[in-house]
């Protein structure tokens, strides 16, 4: 790290960037405060949204200049990262960046750039978005830092492993794999031990690249912050159990960004405390995320990033609140597996157990439990062409939900980041028919 690099970083991020983003937050909060509703059928906007925008923007701004001052790791969304945080790495999540591209309608052009370079259109659209970004150098967040290390944990899919192998070949940097055996049933002790051994190896690899040793107290501190943020996130989602629900899953898709990419940061804990307080206050006052809430639904799978707003408004116009999702729930449900006093064991246990690393029957059981807890009337199952591990099983799950549980469930064909795989009119027709079944 050169002195000039450090000065440039602090001038751009800590001084100018900080001031500009704070000003933008202040403006956003003022604007939100003047908006009685977030849309024609939606309730008032969340006041903390300005703060969220500042957090995310600051994260990408820091990333833009990170190579000057810190080691950078690109990591998969389900990877254990607490040791990297404790070692001072800047973390970039290509999946989250993919979501940003999706929301800002950059998904198609990034996918196309990857396809132009020979990558098949049948590959995951997050991966194609990432390849397109790497190859074109273009991104809506300005610039992504070059990785010094890649950390891949396949507890969300096998796709990430092939994806990161491609990145490792491109950047010629070390790739650390944490290979989590898929849990068709309960985890066996040897599986847990296997993950733990790999976390130890991952720590050693990260220390080598960082050129420093991991301080146990620092790791425990990061783990405490992670644990606290995950607990807060779970409580935030659980406010959706109120009638009317003060938050929609559509909001959660946006507000989940810090729990994924800023887990272990103090600012994430502070932000989630504020968001929880706002939602609890809304629940206490009976303020809903919809102006009129008639029916409540559960969402399964990744969001359709480029159609979040239209879908939210289409459902809101019929009085349908999307009160929970298995996707956002995945970032909170494992809180009890984490013991900050035993960080490495906790990491092994928690990161072996995400919903995507467990069987199709487990997901059905999770949906059944959430339907009850959130008083939901049915399920929207996003059949996501780009996410096989999340989607395979949905056809049987749909039949069981409708049959044994008596909960109508719609299989909605789309793709989380590639709008070319989404047929708007067909989806609208199917959604309309489904809502008629629900009686709204």
């Amino acid at each position: 790290m050169s002195l000039l690099g450090a000065l440039t970083y602090h001038a751009n991020v800590s001084l100018l960037g900080h001031a500009a983003l704070r000003l933008d937050r202040w403006r956003t909060e003022r604007k939100l405060g003047r908006m009685p509703t977030a849309g024609p059928h939606l309730g008032p906007p969340l006041a903390t949204s300005g703060w969220l925008k500042e957090l995310i923007s600051r994260h990408y701004l820091a990333g833009r200049h990170a190579n000057r001052v810190r080691k950078v790791a690109w990591v998969t969304s389900g990877a254990p990262i607490e040791h990297l945080k404790a070692l001072g790495y800047y973390l970039l999540y290509p999946e989250n960046h993919g979501a940003v591209c999706g929301i800002r309608r950059w998904g198609e052009r990034q996918c196309q750039a990857a396809e132009d370079a020979g990558y098949s259109r049948d590959l995951c659209s997050y991966a194609r978005t990432d390849f397109g970004t790497v190859l074109s150098g273009k991104t809506p967040v300005g610039r992504l830092p070059r990785p010094d290390l890649l950390l891949c944990c396949n507890n969300i899919c096998q796709t990430v492993l092939y994806w990161y192998q491609v990145l490792a070949h491109h950047f010629r940097v070390p790739l650390v794999l944490i290979d989590t055996p898929f849990l068709y049933a309960e985890a066996r002790p040897y599986m847990l031990a296997h993950v733990r051994r790999q976390i130890d190896a991952a720590v050693e690899a990260a220390e080598r690249v960082a050129g420093r040793s991991l301080a146990p107290a620092r790791l425990e501190g990061v783990m405490r912050l992670s644990h606290e943020a995950i607990g807060l996130w779970l409580k935030i989602m659980q406010t959706g159990r109120h009638r009317p629900a003060p938050i929609l899953a559509f909001d959660e898709f946006i507000h989940m960004a810090p729990i994924v990419e800023m887990r272990g940061d103090e600012s994430t804990v502070a932000y989630y405390r504020a968001l929880l307080a706002e939602l609890e206050e809304r629940a206490r006052r009976g303020v809903g995320a919809l102006q009129v809430e008639k029916k409540r639904l559960l969402w399964d799978n990744l969001p359709i990033w480029y159609r979040l707003r239209p879908l939210a408004e289409a459902l809101a116009s019929r009085g349908v609140a999307l009160v929970a999702s298995t996707y956002t729930n995945a970032w909170g449900e494992l809180v009890e597996l984490i013991d900050p006093a035993r960080p490495l064991d906790s990491m092994a246990r928690a990161y072996l157990h995400p919903i995507l690393n467990r069987g199709t029957g487990h997901k059905l059981a999770t949906m059944a439990r959430m339907l009850e807890e959130y008083h939901a009337d049915g399920v929207l199952l996003h059949s996501d062409r780009s996410c096989k591990p999340y989607s395979i099983g949905q056809m049987d799950q749909q039949r069981r939900l409708a049959g044994e549980l008596g909960k109508p469930a719609l299989l909605l064909d789309a793709d989380h980041n590639d709008p070319r795989a989404y047929a708007e009119a067909q989806a609208a027709n199917r959604l309309q028919a489904f809502l008629e079944v629900l009686g709204v």
């Binding site: 590959l123 096998q158 096989k388």
Partner: protein, 364 residues
């Protein structure tokens, strides 16, 4: 020449095995623990599709963007094609196979037990140790199913039998240019490893290797490397032969990527684990792009091939991801590449044949 070498068909071999009182396990790709199954009295019979059949029954459970190998396999099971199997094993090789195993266990629930086995995605010592544990776990389930708990001697005997068959497979692939077998017959022979008992396959391979070369020189053919999962539809091999080419280098998941190395040691489970992770680089086992590229370069160099045909199944992510970088790396060495995409449920499309012919032409 193939007439002098009788290769039993899958159906003939299975009938003979069952008639003699043997039992079967239906096994999905990619790296089955054959020795473990045999030691428990189950002949592993691999399910690669089968090709050319309707996937309709499977389509009620799996979305159309699941690869056809998995959809065809599930359809075959639901249509009663695996009813003689005493167990079904779905090794964890990719997201689609993961989904298949899970859907079978949680929803389809066929009459016979469904077993799984997680293949680690690395070749580190800790991966070998994990796989040995996974195989011990699988052995406990097999013992419950078959009522037989093989001792160490039985396990070692089974391992060595499989290793002899693996060596025979390696010999067949290495001496391919000398063998007076057409492309289809050669792959019928190689792929009989998928269903014959190891000792029967080894004996058959030995006979094939001992056959005299064809009368007169075999017409000069354009050597190619064939990469992919499985050479299906087999009509592709006929097309390749008609175009004047031959598969001189095999990088197929069903054959060339299963040239496992022989093992040693006192612990049978450690040996099986070591053997299963000893094959050539394979994306389904998480090998790096560079390792895959080096392997393909080696196959091309060793066989004199100036072209690689990547035969991919639609939606097969383990194969599709690496293609651009493999193509670029090969091109830097002056090795051309051709991508052909097929669907197991469909006949070989005419445009694929045309592209193959044109590709072979460019290599002359």
């Amino acid at each position: 020449m193939a007439n002098e070498l009788t290769i039993p068909s899958r159906g003939e071999a299975l009938r003979a095995h069952l008639d003699s009182g043997g039992a079967l396990a239906a096994v999905f790709p990619y790296h089955p623990p054959r020795a473990l199954l045999r030691a428990h009295g189950l002949l592993p019979v691999e399910v690669w599709g089968p090709p050319g059949r309707s996937t309709a029954a499977g389509d009620a459970h799996l979305q159309p963007y699941t690869c056809s190998l998995v959809r065809a396999g599930l359809a075959f099971l639901l249509d009663g094609g695996l009813e003689r199997a005493q167990a079904i094993l779905v090794p964890h090789g990719c997201d689609s196979l993961q989904g298949l195993g899970s859907v079978l266990l949680d929803f389809v629930k066929p009459a016979m037990p469904v077993l799984t086995c997680y293949m680690p995605r690395g070749e580190r010592d800790l991966d070998r140790a994990f796989l040995a544990d996974e195989l011990r776990e699988l052995a406990a389930r097999l013992a419950e199913i078959t009522g037989h708990r093989p001792g160490d001697g039985e396990l070692v005997e089974a391992i060595e039998r499989e290793e002899r068959a693996d060596a025979a497979l390696g010999e067949l692939l290495a001496r391919r240019p000398e063998l007076a077998l057409g492309e289809r017959d050669f792959y019928r022979l190689v792929r009989s490893r998928e269903y014959l008992p190891a000792e029967a396959f080894a004996a058959l391979a030995t006979r094939a290797l001992a056959l005299p070369p064809a009368e007169g020189a075999r017409p000069a053919r354009t050597p190619l490397v064939l990469s992919g999962l499985v050479p299906e539809p087999m009509a592709l091999l006929d097309a390749l032969e008609a175009a004047g080419a031959t598969v001189a280098g095999d990088d197929l998941a069903c054959s060339g990527r299963r040239r496992y190395r022989p093992t040693r040691g006192a612990d049978a489970y450690a040996r099986m684990s070591e053997g299963m992770l000893s094959g050539p680089p394979d994306s389904t086992r998480g090998s790096s792009v560079q390792a895959r590229l080096d392997h393909l370069r080696g196959l091309a160099r060793g066989s004199g091939a100036r072209g690689v045909v990547f035969l991919t199944l639609k939606f097969c992510e383990p194969e599709l991801y690496y293609l651009p970088q493999l193509r670029d790396g090969l091109a830097a060495d002056g090795v051309r590449a051709l991508d052909l995409e097929v669907d197991l449920a469909e006949a070989l499309p005419a445009p694929v044949v045309n592209r193959l012919e044109a590709f072979v032409e460019t290599l002359r």
